[in-house]
């Protein structure tokens, strides 16, 4: 249970880091917090020729607000985000999701960018990026490009990032203060990877119109959204029947994976239950999704 040998570099600039990735032609891996990569090295599931440690690269961490966008440096530690006032105020879904990410000691070291770049299909931070329609910045030999969440995640541990690109920043539109949100997850033990996790955001669009977003992790080879279920939630109020229909639609829209311990049918059932719970929880926040009967003056 010890890592295999590798070349080690701790460059101080992004250009230097990219140069190294280019030079190793795909055989080098960037090292962020190491909370997944170091265990993978210990198991020798990963045997990179070189590790490019990003800890000394300038300008890769920190959280700031620019207009309506929260910018999170890729090397920002998960724990730093968990305690960030900006995240609490503008990205409460991310704050809630971070409670589900590993344990406090892994969040001390684990980074926001590392988790997203790894693209574990059951991880919470890719789920948040997808639920909030965020994007990431990737720096490579050709320069910097933005990749939208929906185009980033291809499959298990596979993203649109090229082997010589480094994820440098996560950009998330701030959540309106009057939106409802929730994340629900099921895992066998606290801190385990989710068997299924569901994130929900309900945003009032004026009149009784709602913009609903539902993202699911753990069920297939990547996080995904469920437009068919989201469309059912476009107009308030959201009755329990409508919520149940959306949950059923979410459960039917994919083909959940089976593994030796957890069947696809069980995952499908979890999608349905967790989507319903998340929607009910999100709908506790006052908004057009609530039924008029919750207004006491209308109750006879």
């Amino acid at each position: 249970m010890k890592p295999p040998p590798f070349d080690y570099y701790a460059p101080r600039s992004l250009l230097e880091a990219i140069d190294l990735l280019v030079r190793y032609e795909g055989a080098a891996r960037p090292l962020a917090g190491g909370q997944s990569l170091v265990p993978m090295l210990n198991f020798r599931l990963a045997q990179p020729a070189a590790l490019i440690d990003l800890r000394l690269v300038e300008g890769l961490d920190g959280i700031s607000l620019e207009g309506n966008t929260v910018r999170i440096g890729a090397m920002t530690r998960q724990r730093q985000a968990e305690h960030s006032a900006l995240v609490a105020q503008h990205l409460p879904l991310m704050r809630a999701a971070l409670q589900w990410v590993g344990h406090a000691p892994t969040r001390t070291r684990g980074t926001i960018g590392g988790s997203i770049a790894l693209a574990d299909p059951s991880a919470e931070l890719p789920l948040v990026l997808r639920a909030l329609d965020g994007e990431v910045l990737a720096a490579g030999p050709e320069g910097v490009r933005a990749i939208r969440a929906e185009l980033l995640f291809h499959s298990i541990f596979t993203t649109a990032l090229a082997p010589d690109e480094i994820l440098t920043e996560i950009r998330l539109p701030k959540m309106p203060p009057d939106c409802g949100f929730a994340i629900e997850e099921f895992a066998r033990r606290p801190g385990d990877f989710a068997i299924v996790a569901v994130a929900v955001v309900l945003e009032p669009l004026g009149q009784s119109m709602i913009r609903a977003r539902i993202a699911i992790a753990g069920a297939t080879d990547t996080v995904f959204r469920v437009p068919s279920a989201e469309r059912l939630l476009g107009v308030g109020p959201l009755t329990t029947e409508v919520i149940e229909a959306a949950a059923a639609s979410a459960a039917e829209c994919c083909n959940p994976m089976s593994d030796p311990r957890i069947s696809g049918d069980y995952r499908r059932q979890l999608i349905r239950v967790l989507t319903r719970r998340a929607l009910l929880k999100a709908a506790v926040t006052p908004g057009p999704w609530q039924q008029p009967s919750s207004n006491p003056s209308l109750v006879k």
Binding site: M1, K2, P3, P4, P5, F6, D7, Y8, Y9, A10, L31, G34, Q35, V38, P39, L41, N42, F43, L51, D53, R55, R79, G102, H103, A104, P105, T106, T108, R109, R189, P190, G191
Partner: protein, 163 residues
């Protein structure tokens, strides 16, 4: 292959220097190079929590860190908990009084994790203690005594002892 890297860091308030292969885990560096064997290597993949140390005052697992990632850092290990004259830290005292250990293998990790918890939440509820300690595993399953010890240390702290 990079043969070795130099590592300078502060451990328990003392400047230490070492040299090791970049693939060396921080827990092994602490134990083998700095002879600080109080930190235990358990599962070596970040699940059991036995190797928990404080990295700049925050609990972290030393088995999912390369030693070189601790270059320049400020580290607290179990050896830094008791006073130099051997007086137990209030948390250690509480673990002793409440029978918070049996075989003792997980204890260094439990103590470092509890220290992080009490520094950030000096008056935790039982459920938040259990939530925090879910990041560490005791195979003797003596969790009740461990939870009691953390709660007792928290009350002792309220009475004026610093944790």
């Amino acid at each position: 292959m990079t043969l070795s890297v130099e590592i300078q860091l502060t451990v328990n308030g003392e400047r230490r220097v070492g040299r090791c292969e970049p693939r060396k885990l921080f827990v092994d560096f602490l134990r083998e190079d700095l002879c600080l064997t109080g930190t235990h290597a358990g599962c070596e993949h970040g699940i059991c929590g036995a190797c928990t140390i404080l990295f700049y005052g925050e609990a972290a697992r030393s088995c999912t860190m390369l030693a070189v990632q601790a270059d320049g850092a400020e580290i607290l290990t179990i050896e830094g908990l008791a006073a130099s004259d051997g007086t137990l830290h209030p948390l250690q005292q509480a673990f002793q009084s409440c029978h918070g250990l049996q075989c003792g293998f997980c204890t260094p990790g439990m103590l470092m994790l509890s220290l992080d918890l009490l520094r950030h939440d000096p008056a935790p509820t039982e459920s938040s203690v259990r939530e925090a300690l879910s990041g560490a595993i005791c195979r003797c399953t003596g969790y009740q005594g461990i939870v009691d010890a953390v709660l007792a240390a928290s009350s002792a702290q309220k009475k004026g002892d610093m944790v």
